[in-house]
Amino acid sequence: MKIEKMAKNLILKNGTIMDPFHGKTISGDIWLKDGKIAGVGKVDAPKDSLTIDCSGKVITHGFCDIHVHFREPGREDKETLITGSHSAMAGGFTRVCVMPNTNPPLDTPESINFIREKAEECPIYIHPIGAVTKSQNGNDLTEMGLMHNEGAVAFSDDGLPIQNGAMMRIALEYATMIDVPVINHAEDECLRAEGLMHEGIISTQLGLPGNPDLAESAMVYRDLELAQFTGARLHIPHVSSMKAVHHIREMKIKNEKITAEVTPHHLFFNDEALTSYNTNLKVAPPVRTESDRKALIDALKDGTIDCIATDHAPHTIEDKETTFDLASFGMIGLESCFGAVNKVLVHDEGLELGNVLKLLSSNPRAIMGFEQDLFSEGTDAEITILDPDVEWSFEKVHVQSRSINSPYYGEILKGKVEYTISRGQITTQLS
């Protein structure tokens, strides 16, 4: 991948322009001047503008991922804000929210400010999510108000589920004053126990301790009840089970503040993929059965789940190249995201590409309260140019993350990001 400064005047020509916010396709070109949208449709750009021929390609909003782990501060050997940005751009993402389970965690206004300042040097927009509890200990509320003032866009103890229902209630109640989402990694730790993968026939055959779907759904149900009771904005991350989908669908009928996300890997894989004990597929919550996978797809179709988020979780080779019990949970996901979800949702399941682009751009921005009308004149350009139909095999060469823990190697993906434009920079895929 090549990353360079954009030309002063740039014209994106002959592409299909898809605006997921307005839900329409525009004919014509896009003119970018000084990194901002100068015109969409019929444009009157200077003759000496640099032109990119986008024939056969789709030009759309830059993707937004509201759930990534960039490991800074503390584990810069796995990822940094800069390497994470490159990984994001390779996947067409121009805006991300980083989870606070760093070392130390993002649990003070000062640490939020650290991310905000560092993010200024990055080629994408990076927003910190603050911890709900100090040191993510599950007991002591952080200074949410001050952290919000410093730029925290949401709060989560991601990775560590908030087990104490009363604590979750307090956090939701408190967050209503700033009206930002609270995100709880929904797993009941007692029910999850030592579970390493989804509990089912496959875990039984593999002899691996199972993590039952109800470890998630019971916790999701508790959180939904608490959200209804407190009036807070609850966002449910990485939904993995049919049972959780059912609870969310029921509660959304009466509570429009509930939002939810699903990861590409929960849409792409099922537990049968673990029969080779591939530690790159060890993830929390686990990939579950084919019925669960289908239920997640249905939940995207009917709006029960609002958006796609990768839960990009870089780990070192040493963390993964070991036996299944010792391997870390999590996988990288930014580079493979579009090819994976486009394959599953558009090519296999017949969704409209426009809807999938919405799940990757407008919808996650809406959850976090970010600007969604990205093609209006004067807006800082956040643009992704992709080939929606190309088939390609995902390989290590496509990874820009500092870590390589992906389960997608050798998988045939459909649709590929070719250029990403963000903060005056443009990336070009070379492979």
Partner: protein, 312 residues
């Protein structure tokens, strides 16, 4: 000679290969009855017994099988190993292979560890138990013992009694017996039988007396004392009353039934001493067949020549 290069587990293992191993095992049983219990079949073959978890009988059984076949063997156990110094599994494996060995017999506490090993090294891998996953050589010796007793496996009714959830012996036996056409019923406390296991094609019955009535043979698993009092088994007394294969219980049924146990036994808990020592038990035959069937497995996987070829 076998379709798969390694023996990692019996899930999906070809039935004809299980039969070949059992048949070859009976040939080696004859060797064990000779005054000089040794053949040169694996001369020059180096086998490492890589035990990351304590084991007495399985390790001795493998080691004896290797010595009877004239293989060179090296033992590695976790207690004496560099693992305590923090060396990774991968490094340990690759270091041992760098010393030019032909096969590895591995016991490891983690399910899938032998499969991982195949990714790191080129030697033939034989799984001697991987956590709660499989213990294929135990299942093969169990099947060999049943075959010896009944002359067949097809249609045989086998009850497996005890802690199924934490048992690699149970899982390998289930796969092997079903592949060979036997019927399997699992019996034990419901919280120690995985809810999804019936999808494999076994029956579940929590009433041990009904299982005794039904079965031709019982394979009684060790109930680990560590499980007692962890909320899994309320007490020894309760377990013995509900699932123990007691002399009294067998006497009530008055039927011919073969009693097996993979060992080590908790006499007075899952099995009475008199049952274990009684006429119906074939527990010591299992031990002998363990050596013979492991000889067969090593011979078939390590490219040993048949004794006829040696003699010619």
């Amino acid at each position: 000679m076998l379709q798969q290069r390694h023996l990692l587990g019996l899930e999906g293992y070809p039935s004809e290969d299980i039969q070949t191993i059992i048949d070859t095992g009976f040939k080696f049983r004859e060797v064990l009855d000779r005054p000089i219990k040794k053949v040169p079949s694996l001369q020059g073959v180096t086998i490492v017994n890589l035990f990351f978890e304590n084991s007495t009988r399985t390790r001795i059984s493998f080691e004896l099988a290797q010595k009877r076949l004239s293989a060179d063997t090296v033992n590695f156990s976790a207690s004496s190993s560099s693992l305590k110094k923090g060396e990774s599994f991968k490094d340990t494996a690759q270091n041992i292979e760098a010393m030019k060995i032909d096969a590895v017999v591995m016991r490891h506490p983690t399910p899938g560890a032998p499969k991982h090993l195949t990714e790191f090294i080129d030697a033939v891998i034989i799984n001697a138990g991987d956590g709660t996953h499989e213990h294929p050589t135990q299942a093969i010796l169990d099947m060999m013992s049943l075959h010896e007793k009944f002359g067949k496996l097809k249609g045989l009714k086998v009850g497996i009694i005890g802690d199924i959830s934490h048992s690699r012996v149970a899982l390998s036996n289930i796969h092997g017996l079903l592949i060979m056409g036997a019927d399997v019923t699992l019996c034990g406390p419901p919280n120690l039988i995985p809810p999804f296991i019936k999808d494999l094609g076994v029956k579940i019955n929590y009433n041990v007396d009904e299982v005794i009535e039904w079965a031709d043979a019982l394979n009684i698993l060790r109930i680990q004392r560590e499980r007692m009092g962890l909320g899994l088994v309320p007490s020894v007394r309760e377990y013995r009353a509900m699932f123990g294969i007691t002399q009294e219980r067998l006497d009530t049924h008055q039927k011919e039934i073969v009693i097996m146990h993979p060992g080590p036994m908790n006499r007075g808990v899952e099995i009475d001493g008199t049952v274990a020592d009684g006429d119906q038990a074939i527990i010591l035959d299992q031990v002998l067949n363990g050596v013979a069937s492991r000889m067969a497995i090593l011979f078939l996987l390590c490219g040993g020549k048949s004794s006829e070829e040696d003699e010619s």
